[in-house]
């Protein structure tokens, strides 16, 4: 089952920026692109664990601040020559409100 939880409003996140959501499983990075798409992925670069939420957001991708890996926000996969992926988390926008689906937590709680 999907457990949709509200995390705030889209306006809480700057365009071409990100905010973190703290969860018991670690931080989730929630991104807002220049054209107001919202994506959520683990805040943990597949390379050396860099905080992706701190990277520069361009198109639907983010560049990790530690070693410049570029991660697709849509697939969670590293772009270019690098290989690796982070978990993507489903996001839903209801008007201004943002929800993410915490599947793992939900299943554990059930």
């Amino acid at each position: 089952m999907m457990n949709w939880v509200s995390i705030g409003s889209i306006s809480d996140i700057p365009r071409r920026g990100a905010r973190c959501v703290a969860t018991p499983e670690g931080k989730i990075a929630v991104f807002r692109t220049a054209d107001d798409q919202v994506f959520a992925i683990d805040d943990h670069c597949p390379h050396k664990g860099g905080p992706l939420s701190q990277g520069i957001v361009h198109g639907a991708a983010v560049t990790c601040p530690l070693h410049n890996w570029v991660i697709s926000l849509e697939t969670g996969k590293a772009l270019g020559a690098d290989e690796g992926a982070v978990r993507t988390i489903p996001v839903r926008i209801e008007g201004e409100r943002l929800f993410i689906a915490l599947e793992a937590l939900a299943s554990r709680a059930a």
């Binding site: 700057p14 969860t23 601040p65 939900a106």
Partner: protein
Amino acid sequence: MTEKLVIIGNGMAPGRMLEHLFEQAPGRYQVTIFNAEPRVNYDRIMLSPVLSGEKAFEEIIIHGDGWYIANGITLYKGHKIVAIDRAAKTVTSDHGVTEPYDKLVIATGSVPFIIPVPGHDLPGVLTYRDLDDVQAMLLAAQSRAKAVVIGGGLLGLEAAAGLNAQGMDVTVLHVMPTLMERQLDPAAGYLLQRAVEQRGIKVITRANTQAITGKGKVEQVELADGTIIPATLVVMAVGIRPNAALAKEAGIAVNRGIVVDAGMRSNDPDIYALGECAEVNGQVYGLVAPLYEMARVAASQLAGNEAAAFVHMDTPTKLKVTGIELFSLGDFAEGEDRQEIVLRDAAAGIYKRLVLRDDRIIGTVLYGETADGAWFNDLKKKQTDISQMRDTLIFGQSYQGGASLDPMAAVAALPDDAEICGCNGVCKGKITGAITAKGLTSLDDVRAHTKASASCGSCTGLVEKLMVLTIGDKYNPAAVQPMCGCTTLGHDEVRRLIKAKGLKTIPAVMQELEWTTSCGCAKCRPALNYYLVCDWPDEYADDYQSRFINERVHANIQKDGTYSVVPRMWGGVTNAAELRAIADVVDKFEIPMVKVTGGQRIDMLGIRKEDLPAVWADLGQAGFVSGQAYAKGLRTVKTCVGSDWCRFGTQDSTGLGIRIEKFMWGSWTPAKVKMAVSGCPRNCAEATCKDVGVICVDSGYEIHFAGAAGLDIKGTEVLGLVKTEDEALEHIVALTQMYREQGRYLERIYKWAKRIGIAEIKRQIMDDGEKRKAYFDRFVFSQKFAQVDPWSERVSGKDKHEFRPMASVGFAQAAE
């Protein structure tokens, strides 16, 4: 025995002639040049980019002062020759200098037509011929007022575009029904007019200027139909005529220009003429390619090769207005015996027309897309029979024979004698030959050896493709390395265009310069943000989302995602209260590591991001501000204890270091800037490996720069010695501003200096007081907006979102 060669005029043609002459007959002549303009030889074709602000005058110099010295040339700057005495074989200047000659070359160029309407001599009426005209126009443009350009030909349109780029409200008056009617057919002329108008320039065709009126200066232009156009500046660009008056007075045969034979010799066997003032076979010329051909011929003649002869050639015309692609060649009038092939693509703004006679190309007009110009030119020149490819001819070379549309293949397919550089008449074989024979690997090398792409630059792309084809990966495209994958433009071009087009936001840059991505990447965005911060300090709103995380949160990210914080300790000096405050902060926030840095600061490492504002609040209480240890900006000024304490100290090095740091903190630079001030040549502050360093000596302050002690190790260069602390500060600030304006993002000072040249930097900062002052003033202006402590701003609540999670979720459920 050396002969005396005297040249009247110092334009591009005689300059090129001398290059050839020194190559063919080194040491044969003792050369003297009289130049009515008070300067060295520069590229007149590039005056338009200077007017529009896309280039600086320094960038268009062909022969610097050093070249004249190296070749033993005596150059009289600002001397106009007023008389030639052919019997005595001497020339005399307006300053009274008389010089004997064995051979004389007249290269007096041309003078602009002035339409003799009433008011043509009012102040504010200019022509467009030389740097003085450009400078006068730039001065007039500062008023942002209205300008009228009379003449819708090549020069007039370039002048109009330049003035428009400088912010003036420009109207072009053209007497004919369409623009550039001598080079373009009406259809292309119409497209051109539309493109010019889209830039905000008004165009009035069939405009018959009747009078220029005003009280004591230009106020308006009146047309024959009664239209009145207000203007504070009128530029006449209606044409030129050969400047042959001097030759005529001396009794040399003059028709429209100075009459010369195919060997460039006048009716006096010791007197030659070349350039725009010369008339060969009844023709006078104004474009650079035939003028350079004259230079080649004259040089050969002077070197003793009497067979060298000038042959007439058609030259393609190109308009040097950024964003307008236009190419025209040959004869394109309609006629019974002619057919034409036309391609129109209205959506893409493309128009192409080929005029054929007997299955051969005799004329070409290309608008909007001109890449095939070289190929059509080649077909025309060789009189190639095109009947076999007639159906597809207009689509260009890459379309022929089912070949791929790869532009590289098109260049590869060009024959060796295809002309690549029209300005200098350089063919493909000469370029590839020089690349192979001389082992050339950079564009600048090819320019130096072949002259290809060294004049108007429009063939640069072709030359680069030839380099790739010839040497593959060994081609070092350093000069044009694109900023990143989002653009084909290099850093320098982008910086130039930001200024020239007045681009003041990142989206504007990406739109106008045709970025290929929607919002850039992690490489170009920080670079663009810096360029805009630097160029428009008062107008640009810093885009934090385009800054690297360290500059966004004003601390240094560490491998585990925590941050380190370095407060500013001016000149590396601290005290008990500051150290106590640091100790308290370390205890309170359980900061795991405290370290002394190489720049004489204290670094606290391992701070959680959420704690940063609270840490800064406590540090701020003790008077600390951000040390900007994370910035591409001024970092630290390291000092020794100097004359206050040291037995050997010659000056107050600590005081100067603190003064510099207090003056310059907060400024953003292309890459980090670290400085040091040592109180004596023992150099305890290690100033000679810094970006900028000062070594104090008894007689003053020796300023150093361009050192490195990181990836590269490099001792500094000496900028110069100044006497007072005030002068030291002014020179250092001016140097830094020059670097700020010219450096490529992430390019340290030593790399920038290597690229620009130490001598040029010294010239601008040490020798040119006016320039130095201007740099200094621009730095001071930008500091008004830069000197805000980012830590206290954030303590007061700025960018709160950066330091807090958006939400905490899941914990409650997990606890259930």
